[in-house]
């Protein structure tokens, strides 16, 4: 059976060059990077080389890069550390309702510490409005976080404009770029951000490694305590192999981006058109153009997403859904709900995220195999029956 991996938004396979570089670290460089002897020095050198690669990829200075244990950790250090370090200036924070939980839950925890948070809404395509953002600003606003692009529906946010306004008003601006690095150009100077979070495993690098860009001069309160590693913000002996892996991964991701993103965009458009054209009662979630090049999010009405994922899995296709039934919490995706989708429409959402391995044949395969699966699930669905009989859908 053909196996088609269309869940690159969840994670990506580790690319060959990364594996080779990491293997070499594991087998040849075991020294502690903090040791000054000949075992430690090569490890330190590798870390600093990786730091340069990460910095270069996003237009930063190496001194502004901190390696973290994940994208989640980078988000937390920026948001919680940044807010706590600046609370004398004010206690108001702004973010959006469509952030990843790594960001949303960090803000929720700050609310418990007495910070006040404004959550910006989004339009039907998942985009925030700069005007609403401006109206939310207050004299005591100290930190703003808006993701560069959304992980579920791929909507790219107007971070440059928001960043510019924050810079003028001397408000810290963080952006979660976990989904955009290697997909669309990411430049900290153009975004005007003070913090930027990225992650290794979305760009064909290892899991459990991320990086935080912190603009020169910006202060945060450390969340962890221990050694002096990573400017005391991420103390603990460095994961040298993962750091090296991230460096190699981001270097390749950025170098191949122009060609690869254009290739994926074409495949994505064909996939979207193919599915919308062959299956009735389907809709694209998120914008048609201002979206991540590898993201297709489609709602297939009157069926449920987990059943759809299972059925597709049985035919070798790996995808994801924002259905309540897949969430564990039994609430549908907060992103789809914020975009105004009904419960039923969110239920039938299907996210397909393309990547290196995706070919024209994969797209053809999905378009061909999806329809019979949907037909079978709809034949079982009392909601589809209601729709066909013209009865109200409750």
């Amino acid at each position: 059976m053909r196996r088609v991996y269309l869940d690159h938004g969840a994670t990506t396979p580790v690319r060959k060059e990364v594996i080779e570089a990491m293997m070499q670290v594991h087998s040849e460089v075991f020294g502690n990077p903090s040791s000054i002897h000949s075992f430690g020095r090569p490890a330190r050198k590798l870390i600093e080389e990786a730091r340069e690669k990460v910095a270069q990829a996003i237009g930063a200075d190496p001194k502004e890069i901190i390696f973290t244990g994940s994208g989640t950790e980078a988000d937390n250090i920026a948001i919680i550390g940044g807010a706590r370090a600046n609370q004398k200036k004010g206690k108001h924070l702004i973010t959006t309702v469509v952030e990843h939980h790594a960001v949303l839950d960090a803000f929720k925890s700050l609310e418990k510490e007495g910070f006040e948070v404004t959550y910006l809404s989004v339009d039907g395509e998942g985009a925030v409005s700069v005007e609403e953002f401006q109206n939310a600003l207050r004299d005591d606003t100290i930190l703003v976080s808006v993701m560069h692009a959304n992980n579920e529906v791929g909507t790219i946010q107007p971070v440059e404009e928001i960043g510019k306004i924050c810079r003028e008003r001397k408000i810290l601006f963080h952006t979660d770029a976990v989904q955009t690095v290697g997909k669309v150009p990411v430049n900290v100077k153009e975004i005007n951000c003070d913090f930027l979070a990225l992650s290794g495993h979305k760009i064909y690098g290892p899991k459990g490694i991320g990086a935080l860009y912190m603009r020169r001069g910006v202060r945060v309160q450390p969340l962890y305590h221990g050694g002096g590693q990573e400017r005391k913000l991420r103390p603990g002996t460095e994961n040298v192999a993962n750091i090296v892996g991230l460096g190699v991964a981001i270097e390749h991701a950025v170098a191949e981006m122009p060609a690869e993103s254009a290739r994926l965009e074409k495949l994505r458009d064909r996939l979207i058109e193919g599915v919308l054209g062959s299956i009735e009662e389907t809709r694209l979630n998120g914008p048609r153009t201002k979206r991540l090049p590898h993201n297709a999010n489609i709602s297939i009405e009157y069926i449920e997403g987990e059943a759809l994922i299972l059925s597709m899995d049985m035919k070798g296709m790996a995808v994801s859904s924002g259905s309540a039934c897949t969430s564990g919490s039994l609430d549908p995706s907060h992103v789809l709900m914020a975009m105004g989708l009904t419960h039923t429409t969110a239920h039938g959402s299907l996210r397909m995220t393309l990547g290196h391995s995706t070919t024209d044949e994969d797209v053809d395969y999905v378009i061909t195999e999806l329809k019979p699966i949907v037909d079978k699930l709809r034949a079982m669905s009392p909601v589809w029956e209601r729709f066909q009989k013209g009865l109200p859908i409750h």
């Binding site: 449920e304 059943a307 259905s323 419960h343 079982m380 669905s381 009392p382 029956e385």
Partner: protein
């Protein structure tokens, strides 16, 4: 996360569909995640035997599998036996469900009872079912 039996009933669901001249039809919604299940019963008025049963489900793999399994467990059985079917028994027959999916099996039990309630109304027999019992369902 699912047992082989769940996957089997999900992939090849038994007794999918509608019964045109059903003796009782029950449609219930799952308050937890917004899913819907509908069950049709064909009951022999003289023998009280469930001669045919079908379902339609809008829900996850566990919801479809428990619907399918519950129809298998009551087909050819008496009304009394059907009344005693619990969601736990359905889950056990599937070799278990993940804890977060136990509420889906409640949907199957609830749909069956709703169909029997409908039959009670239509046939005038007293099965001891009460409309109010459908308010809250135990998920343990």
């Amino acid at each position: 996360m699912y047992t082989d039996k769940v996957l089997d009933h999900f992939t090849n669901p038994r007794n999918v569909g509608e019964i045109e001249d059903a003796s009782g039809v029950g449609e219930v919604g799952n308050m937890k995640c917004g899913d819907i299940m509908k069950m049709y019963l064909k009951i022999n008025d003289e023998t009280n035997v469930i001669e045919d049963v079908t379902f339609k489900t809008f829900g996850c793999g566990a919801a479809i599998a428990t619907s399918s399994m519950s129809t298998e467990m009551i087909k050819g059985k008496s009304i009394d036996e059907a009344l005693n079917l619990t969601n736990r028994a359905i889950a056990d027959a599937l070799d278990g469900l993940p804890p977060v999916k136990m509420h889906c099996s409640v949907l199957a039990e609830e749909a069956l009872k709703a169909a029997l309630l409908d039959y009670q109304k239509k046939s005038g027999k007293n099965l001891g079912l009460n409309e109010d019992d459908f308010e809250d369902w135990d998920e343990e």
